[in-house]
């Protein structure tokens, strides 16, 4: 009966399989944060529960899960350990590039099968020193040599780079290409070398281990995606990222609200007949949490509608809508946790109380700077010079 657990894993839905992972993530969340380390226990459990390939089509060995299912999983995991949830989200964003743009090349289809079968963890190297955080611009360039390519990138952030099984990396398509003429390639762990250049010691999201590296690789050219990165970014990556991140941030906020409720209930029990002073603030905060949920759910529907038509997916109006999902959910998460801090008072502020939201606060504050909101608002304000808001209330 050596394969019994695997058989059980197939009987349950992916969301059911996630439950045991959530327990493990919650049990180690504080340790991961304090020790500034990768949530290894969560990812061993995710691999055991076969949850890393869930977005991959069933014909290639995955579960064909929809974006809505994945965002829900991000939110559920985010309630337990924000670092685990963010790594899970970043991995699924990379998987979504394969699912959306990798089905026309034999190599990428085979790789997708490997991700599902071997539960490979995918990392991302899209940012580069000297660029200032604009992922749609590269300095480094692919150097082709017959059937292989070489690349050296000063990647100032590769989250969980040392734990990734493969890294999806962007670069200019050739040495003479414009900075925006980029391609993306999948590079396997035994094809690249990482030389650490920057440590990861931050306020929050400490478990993501988003260290900087000099990335050097040599790999077959067929591992480069056939479509330009501009298309991958516009048609799947940005929207998926903003919605999955939104799910993670929603998870942080939802767990903070649950802690406020638990605190207020305990207070109310101690003093029957009296309403705790923070109760009215909780009512207000739950309203903001509900708004946040609506923004994510309607954003997912907008993506599902848009993906049926290429022009819609690459439209200015859709970009504005997805930018707004990112800015509003990232702000709401921090606002909600700050309000819970007021409700729970010293019990929320302490690190060692069951009503603590100290880690939540630190984790939530990363949201506004993960692709800085000011950069996104600058981009949106440019788009709004030509685009009008869709005032229809029909989904």
């Amino acid at each position: 009966m050596a394969n019994a657990p695997a058989r059980v894993a197939h009987l349950q839905t992916p969301r059911q399989r996630l439950e045991s992972v959530i327990q493990i993530a919650r049990a180690h969340a504080s340790e991961v944060d304090c020790e500034n380390r990768f949530p290894a226990e969560t990812f061993e459990a995710l691999k055991r529960a076969r949850l890393l390939g869930v977005m991959i089509p069933a014909q290639y060995g995955g579960d064909s899960l929809s974006l809505a299912d994945i965002v829900d999983m991000c939110g559920a995991l985010g309630q337990a350990c924000a670092s685990s949830a963010m790594i899970f989200a970043m991995h699924q964003i990379k998987v979504s590039s394969l699912v959306t743009h990798g089905t026309e090349s034999a190599w990428h289809i085979d790789f997708m099968k490997r991700v599902a079968a071997e539960q490979l963890l995918l990392g991302s190297a899209t940012t580069e020193g000297g660029i200032g955080g604009d992922l749609r611009s590269s300095i480094c360039a692919i150097e082709r040599d017959g059937a292989i390519f070489r690349l050296v990138k000063e990647a100032n952030v590769i989250s969980y780079g040392r734990q990734s099984d493969a890294i999806l990396i962007t670069a200019r398509s050739h040495s003479g290409a414009a900075s925006s003429d980029q391609v993306m390639a999948v590079v396997l762990r035994d094809q690249y070398a990482l030389e650490k250049t920057i440590d990861w010691d931050t306020l929050g999201m400490r478990g993501t281990c988003s260290e900087g590296f000099r990335f050097t690789c040599e790999a077959p050219a067929e591992q480069i995606f056939p479509h330009p990165f501009a298309e991958i970014a516009a048609q799947s990556m940005l929207a998926m990222a903003h919605l999955m991140w939104g799910g993670v941030w929603f998870g942080i906020a939802a767990d903070a609200v649950a802690r406020a409720q638990a605190y207020l209930r305990a207070e109310a029990r101690k003093r029957p007949g009296e309403k705790p002073p923070g109760a009215i603030r909780l009512a207000e905060t739950v309203g903001v949490l509900q708004e946040m949920k609506s923004v994510i759910v309607s954003g997912i529907s907008a993506y599902e509608r848009a993906k049926l038509r290429d022009e819609e997916l690459s439209s200015v109006g859709f970009s504005v809508a997805m930018n707004n999902v990112k800015v509003t959910t990232s702000q709401a998460a921090a606002d909600i946790v700050r309000d819970v801090l007021l409700i729970n008072g010293i019990y929320g502020y302490r690190n060692d109380s069951p009503y603590s939201v100290a880690r939540h606060m630190r984790d939530a504050l990363s949201a506004a700077i993960m692709i800085n909101n000011d950069r996104i608002l600058g981009n949106t304000s440019n788009l709004l010079l030509v685009s009008k808001f869709d005032t229809s209330l029909v989904a």
């Binding site: 611009s137 439209s315 440019n382 788009l383």
Partner: protein, 80 residues
């Protein structure tokens, strides 16, 4: 098309002069960014006295000189 090329040179921030581009050459490959494409739209609206409807505000409409020419043609015909 020459008028479109002149506006491309002014607002497109391409890495080559627009006169060197074939009508169907991909403008994004030539270095057109999403920021510059909005400036280009505004320049075209001013020069041709048109307004691009929301349905035309996508990547395809501004992907080549020929595509821009077609879009402007469509708007002018619809207005006539």
């Amino acid at each position: 098309m020459d008028k479109i090329r002149a506006i491309l040179d002014q607002f497109g921030k391409l890495k080559v002069p627009a006169s060197s581009l074939a009508p169907d050459a991909d403008l994004y490959d030539a270095g057109l960014t999403s920021f510059a494409s909005v400036q280009l739209m505004l320049g075209l609206e001013e020069a041709f006295d048109v307004e691009f409807p929301e349905s035309m505000l996508n990547r395809k409409t501004f992907s080549s000189i020929a595509a821009i020419n077609r879009a402007i043609g469509e708007i002018t015909r619809a207005a006539a």
